[in-house]
Amino acid sequence: MDNMANVGVPVAKAVRIPAGPAPWHAVPRGLAIHVGTTVVLFADVRSGRLLPVTSGDHGLVPGGVCLPAPGDLLAVAALARHSAPVDFTPWGSLEEDVVSRLSLAVVPAQIDATAVAAMGAFVAGLPAAGHGPMTSSPQRRDARTLAVAAVAEDHLACHRYLRELVGAGPGSTPAGDDVIVGVIAAFDRVGTAAGHAAALLRSALPSFLHRTTTTSRHDLSAAIGGEFAERVHTLLDALSDSSRVPRAMQQARAWGASSGLDLAAGVAAGALSAMPLGSAHAPVEQPAVPGSRTGTFTIPATDRRSA
């Protein structure tokens, strides 16, 4: 494989990467393992380490490179269809002024009870779709039990729920994994008061990583390391401002078939379980926000224009 000719990645006009060493240093040459509509996934030919390449539609992900325009991603996707490894070293010659670095770590911030309740009500109101392994409803329900167990420092329960959640549900990043990522991210957002809960999940999770896909392992490992995709940050920002919740939920609907909503379920569960600040060990039931379940988030039964 080392002797195979490489295909050089086109030099983009601008890229966004996570803060820290540029991802192409860790993955100088990669073979495509997935060509999706908003993400192309490469694995380093030697280490197997993943390099996700995305565009603005998807946002930056841990260890990834985010290109400015969908057309740039299409160019990379076209390369991925070759059997030869893609050489990412041309990106190493990019001038610093076209490389933007974005910290994907969560900064603790005040969260708003109304926003948390609104997000929780929205997730609770989602209709169940699919059945058996094709539905993520069970994983979304388990989000709260996992979060409550972590806040209560119930190690046994956490292990039990992680075993059920890791790798469970639909998607190449299974729904259970998205839920877990969301819960940990919410704990990090709450900050010190939920630090013990986040630490518990981070210490328990590595022993379950073999139970999921390579792609999802990448996201879970990043979460253990304290980094989350831009999409997750969008959900976290909505926890601090209830006016952002409707739009955040709107955007989350469009992330995969259920991935966005699974992340939202995890974020809502983590935030609900960790409130209020100062009562870190007691999960608090938040009252439903009047009108938030149906008035704001109900999908119209039929839209006349879609006839």
């Binding site: 969908p70 699919g130 059945h131 392994p133 549900g169 639909p170 190449s172 299974p174 224009r305």
Partner: protein, 500 residues
């Protein structure tokens, strides 16, 4: 395969294959519709999912797969059905398999997929996206399209005002059209979008915050021999205070620079006063003759921009400026008087209904004029321009309403409209007039046909169908409204003479 009771379970493993979950769910739903298929599952073969399959009775005992493998499981009535189901599932997951075995996904379902498909097929890069999803999802699709550099025609309604404001700002920043939301009509570079008529190309450019308003004006211009260069829809809220007319402004900029456009028309319900004054100033500055057709305002030629308060008036002013004066033609002969004083309008076009209401109100004629395309009438039902049955049902009932002597209706032709809107309407009119006649009353039905000779439904044929049912077909919607006024006046005179 394994058999349990009277069913068979089969599975296929695709090593290290990832597919977007949207694709997997759609595939499973599609295969489940096949005869004999009971259930389909498509998941990554993680231990947790294999346990879920086990609990669901969907795990074949001999299944060997790793977490990075995609497994498709099918339960069906027999081996043959299950095998066919697995083959269908595999086929739907894979389309082009190139020489290297790389699989690419099927029909585009998102903006990004559409762009990728165009590039893959060697087609020119698309320049516009048309979006017709439930309103909840439209903003996401619009945003993706705009960020991909595409103009947008957004047919969807029920889009939040704040989303419209945000997305139009994004569009303007990128010099892109965002037509809508709730934009029903446009003609861009000769391409009709939504409900649009087949209109002769010509020198009049239209910016419309009104669907059927744009259709009425464009079809009258076609009749005048003038024609339309561009018809840019901007959605009904664009000229509101909140949106501020930003897309109208961009549309005017485009028409000012368009060499094929010699006269510019803006058509809308009356904007708020702040937006209106800015609009007229902007139109005066275009460097081309302009007509502001703002329904309900008083006609005026005092300023540099001709202002008209009716669609017919707007079309006449524009046609004259374009050097093709419009003679709408004669209205049909009216009966002496209707059988009852009440006037009812049952419309499929909102702006046509509004024009009628304005004309009647100006002459002091009381009437109930309904826009049956409005949300309150279309929840759970298609728009009456797409499905004429709902309006036809209401028309048929009018015959049993003794207070209604005059019924006003519209018939809108063109792309997107029903293939034959005249027949159900004509049948309903016959029913209504017959019921009224049996009751000793005459029900007068006045209509106009909004269309052109080139529209797919056949203008003359549709008109003839209505006339055969006794409908008095007028050359314009405004003309039909004027006839209603005359009839009401005739009845008032008759009553006066009788009581004298």
């Amino acid at each position: 395969m394994s058999a349990t009771h009277d069913t068979t379970l089969g599975a296929k493993v695709f090593p290290r294959l990832y597919r977007d979950s949207v694709t997997l769910m759609a595939m499973a739903a599609s295969v489940e519709k096949h005869d004999g298929i009971i259930r389909v599952g498509a998941v990554m073969a993680t231990p947790a999912n294999l346990e879920i399959l086990e609990r669901s009775g969907m795990r074949p005992p001999d299944l060997q797969a790793a977490p990075d493998d995609l497994v498709i499981v099918v339960r069906g009535v027999d081996d043959e059905v299950v095998t066919a189901g697995l083959e269908a599932a595999e086929q739907s997951l894979t389309t082009v398999e190139d020489a290297h075995g790389t699989r690419t996904e099927q029909a585009a379902r998102t903006i990004a997929e559409g762009l990728a498909a165009a590039q893959r097929d060697g087609r020119d890069r698309p320049t516009m996206a048309t979006i017709s999803t439930p309103g909840t999802y439209a903003p996401i699709a619009v945003e993706q399209a705009l960020k991909a550099g595409l103009h947008v025609f957004c047919f969807s309604d029920n889009v939040a005002l704040e989303d419209e404001v945000r997305l139009k700002a994004l569009a303007v920043d990128n010099s892109l059209l965002m037509m809508g939301p709730d934009c029903g009509t446009a003609i861009i570079d000769g391409v009709p979008l939504g409900f649009a008529n087949v209109v002769t190309p010509g020198p009049v450019g239209i910016v419309a915050a009104s669907g059927t308003g744009a259709q009425e004006i464009s079809t009258l211009l076609d009749r005048a021999g003038s024609g339309v260069s561009q018809l840019i829809g901007v959605g009904g809220r664009d000229l509101s205070a909140e949106v501020g007319g930003v897309m109208t402004d961009l549309g005017l900029t485009i028409l000012a620079k368009d060499e094929a456009t010699q006269v510019v028309v803006v058509v809308s319900k009356p904007p708020c006063s702040v937006v209106a004054s800015g609009l007229l100033a902007r139109m005066a500055d275009l460097g081309k003759p302009a007509v502001a057709c703002l329904l309900g305002v008083a006609d005026s030629d005092d300023g540099p921009v001709a202002v008209r308060g009716t669609l017919e008036g707007g079309a006449q002013a524009a046609a004259r400026l374009a050097g093709h004066p419009l003679d709408v033609g004669a209205s049909p002969t009216l009966p002496a008087a209707p059988g009852a004083p009440g006037v009812l309008g049952l419309y499929t076009g909102g702006t046509l209904a509004a024009e009628t209401s304005i004309i009647l109100r100006r002459e002091g004629v009381q009437a109930q004029v309904l826009d049956l395309g409005d949300d309150e009438y279309t929840t759970g039902r298609p728009h009456p321009m797409i499905d004429p049955a709902a309006r036809a049902d209401r028309v048929a009932e009018v015959g049993s309403q003794p207070h209604v002597g005059i019924l006003l209706v519209d018939l809108v032709l063109g792309h997107g409209a029903s293939a034959d809107p005249a027949t159900p309407l004509a049948d309903a009119v016959r029913t209504a007039r017959s019921a009224a006649e049996q009751d000793g009353r005459e029900l007068v039905v006045l209509a106009s046909v909004c269309g052109t000779a080139a529209d797919p439904q056949g203008f003359d044929a549709q008109r003839a169908i209505l006339e055969s049912a006794g409908v008095l077909v007028h050359p314009s919607n405004a003309a039909a409204a004027r006839s209603a006024i005359e009839l009401v006046g005739n009845r008032a005179s008759t009553n006066h003479e009788e009581s004298a």
